[in-house]
Symmetry: C3
Subunit: 210 residues, 3 copies
């Protein structure tokens, strides 16, 4: 019961963080209200929707929770009206932690959903990774930019990937769904927190070096 | 009967307008014949295809009307061969009105289709809006540009959104499908015509202002 | 039996060529390991996945062959570590021929799959063309560039289109699947080889000329 509430609280906080990351990208590109809401929705729901399209699952999360969208529309209007230049970098920092929680939670739950749909382990883990990271990719593509997740050399999706494998292992060991989810999410979150703290970087192309 | 003919005539005119908008974007980017046809098809059929993918509906409109595609291929070739610099802005103005008709018709019919598929009202209206506006978004993304619908500050998708709600209301009041469709389409078209006439603009980001 | 082996060998070589083309695009944009693997996977599997999404077919090729992905991850790491500036253009030239084989094979097999799913001939041929050419389109869109297939004025997708029609004709004449596939693939490959050899170009927009 308490765990269910915690799960819901993390899910809400993470979705808001992903949505806000989309709003910040929209502000940088000076999109209008239609573009800002669209890009922020891609950021928040794009990963799970892509996973569900590939798995042929319906209904989508945002169809089942349509009422949330009114709140997100309001949030878009408020951000456009009140968000100031000074607030942008504060907001960017403030969403870092709920974003990392979302990375963990969505990677673990995406992996569980794909396993339940009969996917082989590697595909399930990749679908979990996609759930966590693909929203940001679609957000950046819709802004005509190279996705940050593809070229910022931060081990973002990699943390999701490792967390997903713990879910696979836990299910293999016969753990019930709750603890598997918690373990995978905690591992991915912990790795992400560690890479942020140590500012770890992915290797570069040799062919790209000067 | 007469209304069916009118419906078909608007649908054909609007599809041609959306396709032509794609051709003009392709001419600006100097795409070749493959790119021009592809981008114009995205422009014309992308919105409805995206809606049907999300709703898991088959067959797509263009599968049922495959023979149209021969005519659109011919149109692409003719445009590439004969469209002159001087004609581009004339064409742009000429398609404005059939485009606005298409906005109305596709918003209303998209909303009806989504309601019939059991979507909640807000989702149905958003799917109608997507039907009308998403083709242009996909066209621009395929041209590696920020979608016009996201940053031109014209209330294009908003008109579709409002028209969609009239369809929802009309069905709630028990109107038959024909009048609901006509009312929603007329409202979205009228709003679009009004915003074009008055050159209305959406608000900007406060954080974007200097 | 021998033909099956030949088929498999061409499929493997072509998939590697498409994947490598994605890696080269990633090296040009200096993507990190996550971006490079993602873009290369889009390049290799995007066309078939798009076709299967539109046809509502499951499972995807890469779900059934998940173990391949480990090899492709390894290939990504090796390319990032060892591919030198000097090797890039050699690699580009080296993949030209397996890429042309893949164009033929995927165009023909994509057309057959769409015909078997009940698509009308023109749609089936377009889906075959999409199978062959759409991976490169998605790769370039994910790199925020105008797709090469849309603006390099090489008759790449056109060769696939013509090869696809031979598959349609062969099935119409009652040929068994094997020879139909081989004939369509050979025609598309032959046309591509011819256009490469003669450096043939598609016509330009009149409105684009100065």
């Amino acid at each position: 019961m308490h765990l269910d509430l915690l799960h819901l609280a993390i899910e809400v906080a993470a979705t808001l963080a992903f949505f806000t990351a989309g709003l910040l990208a929209a502000a940088r590109k000076r999109l209008d209200v239609v573009g800002s809401f669209s890009v922020a929705c891609l950021s928040a729901f794009g990963g799970g929707t892509m996973r569900d399209l590939l798995l042929d699952r319906r209904p989508f999360f945002w169809v089942d929770n349509a009422d949330w969208l009114w709140g997100l529309m309001l949030l878009t209007l408020l951000a456009m009206r009140y968000l100031d230049h000074r607030h942008v970098s504060t907001t960017q920092r403030a969403i870092q932690w709920p974003d990392a929680l979302g990375l963990g939670l969505f990677a673990a739950s995406g992996t569980q959903i794909a396993l339940a749909a009969g996917m082989p382990p590697l595909i399930a883990v990749l679908m979990g990774t996609m759930t966590a990271a693909c929203g940001g990719v679609l957000r950046d593509i819709a802004c005509a930019e190279v996705p940050t997740a593809f070229n910022d050399h931060q081990p973002y999706a990699l943390c999701a990937f490792v967390g997903g494998w713990l879910v696979v292992l836990a299910e293999h060991w016969g753990w019930p769904p709750g603890p598997s989810l918690a373990a995978g999410a905690a591992l991915a979150f912990g790795l992400r927190a560690w890479t942020l703290w140590r500012d770890l970087r992915l290797p570069e192309w040799r062919a790209g070096r000067r």
